[in-house]
């Protein structure tokens, strides 16, 4: 196992180091292995989204070292997949065209996009099929339900086979049934393709279901206060969320979140 994402004593303040506001992220250190699935939980406003921005290079840190794939992050990474709470699909494009977007614009693919278009469309269709969106390729985003939009958004985040997938509360806006269904979809994709994932969530069951390791972040300024491996067998199922081992882990995490909130 090699370290793929490394944060060493990273601090970031909106408005720059000199500004007198509290840092959004303070002294954060973590190490994520290649192919690992990591979840980050913590109270709202504690700096989880900011951490993702630092890892992706979208937001420079003021102090500390951020390394991805062995290289210091000093500009936005170019082969990352991202998905958010809002699916942020482009409403003027069909589902298929939305999924193809990264291939049109990414540094690695844009030069050859036209030449390889047929191939890309094939890949996009098969990815959409994997997440259960077969038959919806030519539908507009507003014709899809929230859960279907989020599936399409996941496809868009993965179509260019990124090494790193950053998910910022991707299922938070969905109803419980759809959310649990999508846990399975995401786990399947990850088990097939083995990319590295950082998932931000406030749902502890979601964290335990999906992750190999869970980090608990303190309230602002965000520090990493607790780290917990999840040694449960894969593939995890909805039944397994009722197993004693699963429930104990969730309780353990809940206790830590309680401490963080009370502190």
């Amino acid at each position: 196992m090699t370290a793929f994402v490394e944060l060493d004593q990273v601090t970031m303040t909106y408005g720059g180091a000199g500004s007198d506001t509290t840092p959004a992220v303070a002294d954060a250190s973590l190490t994520i292995n290649r192919g690992e699935f990591v979840a980050m939980v913590g109270p709202s406003g504690c700096g989880k989204s900011s951490l993702l921005k630092i890892v992706s290079g979208l937001m420079p840190a003021d102090e500390g070292i951020t390394r991805v794939a062995g290289e210091a992050v000093i500009r936005p990474l170019t082969m990352v997949g991202m998905a958010f709470q809002n699916a942020t699909l482009l409403p003027w494009r069909t589902t298929l065209e939305n999924v193809l977007l990264p291939l049109e614009v990414s540094r690695t693919h844009r030069a050859t996009f036209r030449r390889k278009k047929a191939e890309h469309i094939e890949a996009a269709r098969s990815l959409l099929k994997t997440v259960g969106l077969e038959g919806y390729e030519d539908h507009a985003p507003y014709e899809l339900s929230g859960g279907m939009q989020q599936r399409a958004s996941l496809c868009r985040a993965l179509i260019h086979a990124p090494d790193l997938l950053l998910l910022d509360e991707p299922f938070a806006a969905l109803d419980a049934f759809t959310r649990e269904e999508l846990w399975g979809v995401l786990q399947d994709l990850w088990m097939q393709r083995k990319f590295t994932v950082i998932l931000v969530t406030h749902d502890l069951r979601e964290a335990v279901y999906l992750a190999d390791r869970v980090y608990v972040v303190s309230k602002r300024p965000g520090r990493i206060v607790y780290e917990r491996p999840v040694p449960l067998a894969r593939p995890r199922t909805l039944e397994s969320t009722f197993d004693q081992g699963f429930v104990d882990l969730v309780h353990k995490l809940r206790d830590h979140i309680g401490e963080v909130r009370a502190s």
Partner: protein, 253 residues
């Protein structure tokens, strides 16, 4: 099928004219103060050749000014919306310029270009330019930060973000502004023709009112209004055609 929604505008217009006619007749309002619609329509028929000629002139002058406004408004809106620096630099200038009553500019334009077509075109242009710029700039500037992050984390170029996301996203704003801009363009042309023209509907109405042919003035107003409504309807159709997606799957047909 004739639905109440489709019928409503016709009924409302007809109702307005009926009330207007009724009021004029009931109170025997003198024709040189407020002519009844029937009188205005009679004047419209009587003076049709002159009206037609002047309306056509006003129409194409307006279209030229409007076309200029579309080209420059779109260009400036894209530049302003894409760059925070340009936005903050020229926004106060734009607002200031838009606050100047255009009737005050016409004499200046006449000094520069003489009486006639060019001041009218430029007035139509200056008055209809602003809503287009503001709308296009707003469409670009309100891009969701998440989609910008998605694009940047793919290594997308600025120009790709602009062309693939920014421009399509600002198109509903652009087409909405065209509907406002086209009616303003008519206002601009007629102002200029009234203050310093030798032709067009503004000139015609000024001449008519100075000889107390008030029904003819009202006939002119009706013709201008009709042209405005017609062009508005055309741009509403164009809007539906090009940015139907922005109407969220309503009856886009």
């Amino acid at each position: 099928m004739i639905t109440p929604i489709k019928l409503a505008p016709w009924l409302a217009t007809f109702g307005l004219f009926a009330v207007w006619e009724l009021v004029c007749r009931l109170f025997s309002v003198p024709e040189f103060i407020l002519p009844a619609p029937s009188a205005a329509i009679a004047a419209l028929i009587e003076y049709w050749p002159a009206i037609w000629q002047n309306a056509f002139y006003t129409f194409w002058v307006t279209m030229v000014g409007f076309a200029l406004a579309v080209v420059f408004g779109l260009a400036l809106g894209l530049v302003t919306g894409a760059s925070a620096l340009v936005y903050s630099a020229i926004y106060p200038l734009l607002v200031g310029f838009n606050s100047i009553p255009k009737v005050a500019i016409v004499p200046v334009l006449v000094v520069w270009f003489g009486i006639g077509t060019i001041p009218a075109i430029l007035t139509a242009f200056t008055i209809s330019f602003f809503p287009i710029v503001v709308n296009v700039a707003t469409g670009l500037a309100t891009l969701e930060p998440e989609i910008r992050d998605v694009m940047r984390s793919l290594g997308a170029r600025k120009i790709d973000i602009l062309l693939k996301v920014g421009v399509p996203r600002s198109m509903p704003y652009f087409f909405a502004s065209l509907k406002v801009a086209i009616t303003l363009a008519f206002v601009g042309t007629v102002i200029s023709e009234t203050v310093a023209g030798n032709g067009g509907m503004g000139h015609l109405m000024l001449t008519a009112s100075s000889s107390f042919r008030v029904p003819l003035v009202f006939a002119g107003l009706l013709v201008i209004a009709a042209m405005g409504v017609g062009m508005y309807a055309i741009f509403a159709l164009v809007e539906r055609r090009f940015v139907g997606w922005a109407f969220r799957g309503g009856d886009t047909g």
